[in-house]
Amino acid sequence: MPTKILSVDDSRTIRLIVGRSLRQYDCILCEAANGEEGLAAAAREKPDLILLDVTMPVMDGVTMLTKLKEDPELKAIPVIMLTAESGRDNVIHIARLGVRDYLVKPFKEDQLIEKISRNVTIKKKEAAPAAVAAPAA
């Protein structure tokens, strides 16, 4: 069964990079552009893992994480923060809320895959079988 990952980031560019990083893996990627949409997507999709930005319009990532951890149905979903902010107080506050891991932007695709793999199982897609040439008439 494919691993379901929810990417919550207001930047379409980052969501595209996440999608590109995962394209070789058997994953279903769901997307949300802010914390409010992210909470709704988490409740609807029940992802295996959430990648979460901090600074977003409407609802920021810290508020979303707080609400997620208050919800008995969603609190066990592992969350990896994906943000450019790594200030001491922010990191400690987020760690106390129960985040599983933290990746500072900019990041390499293999760093993201490594962080995801530490928290959920992702399998590489099997290579498509080589096309068989039609027999000569």
Partner: protein
């Protein structure tokens, strides 16, 4: 389970890169309103890149070092005050984040260049701005020509510039670069007790950019180049707002 109140332990666990020491030290010094200029001068003098940048900030109209009227770190600090030290401290993590973004997302080596050797940015170009407010108020301006913005967005997304047809993708990529740059220096400011919040980035086309005036604050004007891509970054800051 990690000790979630221990930042050092969390940094190791999460694999954070070490923060540039001289910039962190400088930010801490600026955050104290009673800081000794001699102490700040010592930190800057120990770091040739910071020294060079401070003298560039202190001589904004000079075409090259021969034209510098302000030649020493002490003189530059006396004339320009803490605002200019703050933009120097902010510029280091900002430039590192930008260079790292180019390396990781575009596989390009971005180099800090002297603003006076950069090709001028004439006509309509992409202008991204992001403000921050709190104990420090300021703004970061990122400018580039359309070809550079297109090449950056296409490179990040992983397509050729010709395939990029949606102008929103160009804006979004420039906005994310701004977010990454400012997020990195905001962490430095907050760690030094200068708490501030980032505003949402704005990216538009402009042909009418004027160097911002920053009474009582600091302004640093940076330029970068990677192949045909050229970026201009202006940083303004006013410390000690309550």
């Amino acid at each position: 389970m990690p000790d979630v109140s221990n930042y050092q332990e969390l940094s190791r666990r999460y694999g954070f890169a070490p923060k540039p020491e001289s910039a962190s030290r400088l930010t801490q010094l600026v955050s104290r309103q009673d800081s000794d200029l001699d102490e700040i001068a010592k930190v800057i003098d120990k770091d040739p890149a910071l020294r060079k940048r401070l003298l560039r900030v202190a001589n904004p109209d000079a075409e090259n070092e021969v034209e510098y009227a302000v030649e020493t770190v002490e003189d530059a600090l006396m004339r320009n005050g803490m605002g200019c030290v703050l933009v120097l401290a902010m510029g280091t993590p900002l430039a590192l984040a930008l260079t790292k973004s180019f390396h990781t997302m575009l596989s390009l080596k971005l180099e800090d260049i002297d603003r006076n050797t950069a090709d001028p940015l004439d006509g309509e170009h992409v202008l991204g701005t992001i403000g921050f407010s709190g104990k420090v108020d300021g703004r970061v301006y990122l400018r580039m020509n359309l070809a550079s913005a297109r090449a950056i967005a296409a490179g990040i997304i992983g397509i050729s510039p010709d395939e990029l047809t949606d102008p929103n993708e160009i804006k979004d990529a420039a906005g994310e670069l701004l977010n990454i740059m400012t997020g990195n220096f905001k962490s430095n400011l907050c760690d030094a007790g200068l708490d501030c919040r980032l505003q949402a980035p704005e990216v538009n086309l402009s042909s009418d950019f004027h160097t911002p005036s920053v009474p009582g604050g600091g302004l640093e004007r940076l330029a970068f180049r990677a192949g045909n891509i050229q970026l201009f970054v202006d940083v303004t800051a006013n410390p000690w707002n309550d």
